[in-house]
């Protein structure tokens, strides 16, 4: 069958920039102009529309399902339940424990129960409402601490109530408690943040010859999708051809499957193409969110602020299914006290099953929650020791050669103390001018809503530090694969780069082209659509694609270049060890320019495929948490300046400043965008973003009431980007997308505390917390 309309094609990378330049991205103009084809724009003649009936209850026994009334609606082509799943009835990102369609029991609000395919989306939706499901409503399990206390009695799944308990044990905390001169303690909470990507889940499934499927979806990790889809559909993985459709943001929320198996079931059942496209409301139930956290911290220190011990409990609520809770819990444990040297540590990190909304991957992945707590603790320690927030952090900061809580030695540069010093030295924004009465309302807390002309406005300053693991951890070999082909097209040497890596808006394909230009000395680079006709690229998550797929493209280009130089040696009659490519030419040290690439290649093409692996990592010891579990570690530090209307509890973030060490800047424009965006997402968590849940039910599944920052909420940023290379990584780079998401949240909350004197132990901070 022909490709659908609005499916992606080959893209010429604009500009001629190599590594270190800032060429524009191929999708930029299209997105700004509203012309980019997202997955929701996919279309093929004759397609049906799928709809998903979801559970209204967080926990209920399914007594009966009657699809008859739905099947009777004219225009309906299929109504499917779990009985129609062709293969395995369970799927899951790491662990197949999630029903494709619920059977026996529903375990969270919004859990899929039945599917409809119809000629028109509205028909599908109406028919869906006619499916009669009888539920016996059960009391939902919603308190994760209660589950820890009684994991057998309060189990949501047969397997028990706890997904993972990961301790970290270093030194002798009991002895250190006796020695500490200063003790500080706090309890902290993080609400459920949503990825809130702007392009809801969508895709198109087309029956293929031989009983297979062509799938066009917006996702983050195609090969892992196919590994989950195939067994449920009763297909071999080779029978599924998946192509990445236009992705409108991801942030972890597309790492789990959404509509993929459902559309596949409907397509196989009807023999027709089936499109599924969630609206915003459904999207809130169509993907996992950031784990909410409840955390108890106690730190002891010497009188000079030198940390002696940390005693920590972190509870992460994963909802009903495993998703990535195992690894989120591992991150929270291994990074639970942040980038500080602490000789005695006890951490207990728990991931728990409940009937609350399902949680999984989101930018920062377990490190975000802990960061809010440990940075709040550093501020408490500063207060108790009468030190500045910067000084207390500097005194305890890790550096190259330090050990993390897991015992892992930080082998690459980690100049945290220097980063803090540079941050502190950055100029401050001007004071708010309220005296003249001419302040623009939009510069004040409340903005154009005019809640103040300056009354009650107090400025505050706060600092935050975060450390994030880059690439997958704990022994996982998250490889990437790239195929690079060099040939002369239209008289010009052209590199075609083909990977399965998902461009989710982060700018990966731009960097791929830059790498190909640098390694091959060509200008013209074409990016093939990402699909599974090439090997696994791993997930577009964990800040890993520049490292892993960048590494794969670099390695494949090096192989192509070696072939090219060997060919040039043969054709030019020279030893190829002396040859290099530069500016589209074959050059030698002795002879200068010898030939152009097109002269050497002629009508030949050179194509190489390479896999790239990072250094192996080790699991965490299940009892002590020790182990070299991370590939790479990245630091970011933030300073936040806020104006708070202390009478109304409204906050205007005036400025965010950040220092981040990225090892090597590949594309400054994209990188700054990543730091701005990560900081904005952290700002959202600090002051507004929360899925509010009550009794397992989501109370605000819309952009009317789930608020994300606007341009009037996100301030201008000062950035200081350092380049201390990591010798293990391609070009020395360090993954950059997640670290700013960690540290902006605690910096902003610290600034609000500075302005208000309130303890503020929960994010997002709401106005009533400030005025209470």
């Amino acid at each position: 069958m022909a490709a659908p309309i609005k499916s992606p094609g080959r893209v010429s990378a604009p500009g001629d920039g190599g590594v270190g330049d800032s060429p524009l991205r191929p999708d930029g103009t299209l997105k700004v102009a509203g012309e980019f084809a997202y997955a929701s724009d996919l279309w093929i003649d004759g397609m049906l529309w799928g709809a998903t009936l979801r559970s209204p209850h967080p926990r209920a026994r399914i007594v009966s399902v009657d699809v008859g009334p739905a099947l009777a609606v004219p225009g309906v082509r299929a109504v499917l339940t779990h009985e129609d799943v062709p293969g395995r009835k369970l799927f899951g990102l790491d662990d197949p424990d999630q029903p494709v369609l619920a059977f026996g029991e529903v375990r969270h609000q919004g859990e899929p129960v039945a599917l409809v395919a119809a000629d028109h989306p509205e028909t599908a939706r109406r028919a869906m409402e006619r499916i009669a499901v009888e539920y016996e409503v059960l009391e939902p399990v919603t308190d994760p601490r209660a589950v820890i206390a009684d994991p057998e009695g309060l189990k949501v799944q047969d397997r028990g109530g706890i997904v993972r308990h990961q301790p970290v044990v270093v030194g002798d905390v009991a002895a250190a408690k006796r020695a500490a001169e200063v003790v500080v303690a706090g309890e902290y909470e993080v609400g459920i943040q949503d990825q809130a990507f702007l392009g809801p889940e969508a895709g198109l499934a087309i029956p293929a010859e031989g009983g297979g499927l062509d799938l066009y979806v917006s996702t983050q990790w195609m090969h892992q999708d196919v590994r989950q889809i195939a067994p449920c559909l009763g297909l071999d993985e080779e029978q599924i051809h998946m192509t990445l459709a236009g992705v409108g943001g991801a942030f972890g929320g597309r790492e789990d499957l959404s509509m993929q198996i459902h559309a596949g079931m409907l397509a196989l059942h009807t023999g027709r193409p089936v499109k599924m496209s969630y609206n915003r409301y459904e999207s809130f139930f169509g993907h996992v969110h950031r784990h909410p956290a409840q955390m108890r911290y106690e730190y002891g220190a010497a009188a000079d602020g030198t940390l002696l011990y940390a005693d920590v409990e972190i509870v992460l609520d994963g909802g009903a299914y495993t998703s990535s809770t195992v690894n989120v819990t591992g991150n929270a444990a291994s990074l639970g006290v942040g980038p500080y040297e602490i000789p005695n540590i006890r951490i207990d990190a728990y991931g728990v099953y409940t009937n609350n909304p399902p949680c999984g991957a989101m930018r920062g992945f377990g490190a975000v929650q802990a960061c809010f707590a440990y940075e709040s603790m550093m501020d408490r320690l500063a207060d108790a020791c009468d030190l500045s927030p910067v000084e207390v952090r500097r005194r305890n900061a890790v550096s190259q050669g330090s050990r993390l809580a897991t015992g892992q030695v930080i082998e690459a540069p980690a100049p945290l103390a220097e980063m803090l010093t540079r941050l502190e030295a950055m100029p401050m924004p001007p004071a708010l001018d309220t005296a003249s009465g001419t302040a623009d309302l939009r510069d004040l807390p409340g903005g154009a809503s005019q809640t103040t002309h300056g009354e009650g406005v107090v400025r505050g300053v706060g600092y935050g530090v975060g450390i994030k693991n880059i690439c997958f951890s704990e022994g996982f070999d998250d490889l990437s694969t790239a195929r690079v082909r060099l040939e002369v097209i239209g008289g010009e040497p052209t590199a075609l780069v083909h990977t399965a890596a998902a461009e989710v808006g982060q700018g990966l394909v731009t960097v791929e082209a830059q790498i190909a230009r640098t390694e091959l000395g060509v200008q013209k680079v074409v990016i093939a659509p990402a699909d599974n006709r090439v090997g696994d690229a791993g997930s577009s998550s964990a800040s890993r694609q520049s490292y892993m797929t960048g590494g794969a493209v670099k390695t494949a280009c090096e192989a192509v270049r070696a072939e090219l130089l060997a060919l040039a040696g043969r054709r030019l009659g020279r030893a190829h060890g002396d040859l290099a490519v530069a500016g589209g030419k074959i050059v030698s040290r002795a002879g200068g320019v010898l030939a152009s690439i097109e002269e050497v290649l002629g009508g030949d093409a050179i194509e190489e495929t390479r896999e790239y692996h990072h250094r192996p990592t080790a699991p965490m010891d299940p009892v002590t948490g020790q182990g070299r579990s991370h590939t790479q570690l990245a630091l970011c530090v933030h300073r936040a300046v806020v104006d708070v209307d202390v009478d109304l509890g409204l906050v205007k973030v005036v400025e965010l400043a950040a220092v981040q060490d990225v090892g090597r800047i590949l594309n400054r424009l994209s990188l700054e965008g990543q730091i701005h965006g990560g900081s904005a997402q952290g700002l959202g968590l600090a002051v507004m973003e929360e899925i509010v849940v009550s009794g397992g039910l989501v109370r605000n599944p819309s952009f009317t009431d789930y608020l994300i920052p606007t341009i009037l909420d996100m301030p201008p940023m000062r950035l200081d980007i350092l380049e201390n290379p990591d010798p293990e990584a391609p070009y020395g780079l360090r993954g950059a997308g997640e670290p700013p998401t960690l540290s902006s949240t605690p910096a902003i909350v610290a600034a609000i505390r500075d302005a208000t004197g309130r303890a503020l132990t929960r994010v997002p901070v709401r106005p009533e917390h400030i005025v209470a």
Binding site: N279, L441, S449, T710, P767
Partner: protein, 298 residues
């Protein structure tokens, strides 16, 4: 479970035809802009028997000065209220400035806000504070005028009969300072957690108020108005005693009957109303003392 019968789409080109269509289809839901109605239709929150699209009715998109009052058609969008009426209706213009995004303000209208009658509608408090009247009309009985204070009858309910449509609102150009203030938990594009409008009417030695999103309907704070009208030094334009501002804030707070919901707690709403009442009063009184009419929306 809704029925899947078709929904008519009525598109009169004149006011007369619109009234006739409403008389013939009393269950038709008027669309005046559509920024609220269409969201609900898209999410199937409601499925009226018909939509009555008033956007093509050109006379609704006009405003005029009649006998010293302004008559503003139900179809005048917020962007024009700000640009064309900001000098004469500063409180309403400030409120309009807080509605949604520029795209929403290009399309949304005060008429639509009145039709929806949401307690959180941004235009209601300044209409109440300014003593506006709503001109409604039916083909059978002609025009009647409803004071804004009598217009809102319940949560998302208004005083319209099934065959009536909102034609315009009438209000006097500001004769004194007016202010609108609204709490949202971000700095733009936010539904009111609660809101407050004040209008000084020095000629009548009277204060008008409007409270939004803090009761089943938008409402006046009548006791606060009465107290303040009597306490203010209208002639002498003396400074505002703190005790008066505080008492005014307390009375505004007492006029509210808010609930706890996902946007905020009842306690916070009451607290914030008192603060907004004091602040807006201070701004208005300072303007009055300085002889200025209040800020236009920027």
């Amino acid at each position: 479970m809704r029925d899947s019968e078709d929904m008519d789409f009525l598109r009169p080109m004149t006011w007369e035809d619109a009234l006739a269509a409403k008389a013939a289809h009393p269950g038709a839901l008027p669309v005046q802009g559509g920024t609220d109605v269409m969201v609900e239709i898209n999410f199937d929150v409601r499925r009226p028997e018909a939509l009555l699209d008033l956007n093509p009715v050109r006379e609704l998109a006009e405003w005029d000065a009649v006998d010293g009052r302004l008559r503003v058609g139900a179809g005048v969008p917020y962007v024009r209220v700000i640009a064309e009426l900001g000098d004469r209706l500063p409180g309403l213009a400030q409120a309009s400035r807080t509605v949604g995004s520029p795209q929403i303000r290009n399309r949304g209208t005060v008429g639509g806000n009145l039709g929806a009658a949401s307690p959180a509608g941004d235009s209601h408090p300044p209409l109440l504070a300014g003593g506006a009247e709503i001109e409604v009309e039916s083909a059978a009985r002609g025009v009647r005028m409803i004071p804004a204070a009598d217009f809102y009858t319940g949560v998302k309910r208004n005083a319209l009969e099934p065959d009536e449509l909102v034609r315009a609102f009438w209000t006097r150009p500001a004769a004194g300072p007016q202010y609108f203030s609204k709490i949202g938990t971000r700095n733009a594009m936010v539904i009111a957690v609660c809101s407050f409008a004040i209008a000084l009417h020095p000629g009548e030695r009277r204060v008008g108020t409007g409270v939004g999103s803090a009761a089943p309907t938008p409402r006046r704070a009548a006791a606060a108005e009465e107290f303040l009208s009597a306490e203010l030094d209208w002639e002498g334009r003396g400074p505002l005693p703190d005790s008066v501002a505080r008492r005014f804030g307390d009375l505004v707070r007492e006029a509210a009957a808010p609930i706890d919901d996902v946007r905020g707690t009842a306690d916070y709403r009451r607290h914030a109303l008192a603060v907004m009442a004091r602040r807006t009063l201070a701004w208005a009184w300072n303007d009055h003392r300085a002889g200025t009419a209040g800020k236009e929306a920027s």
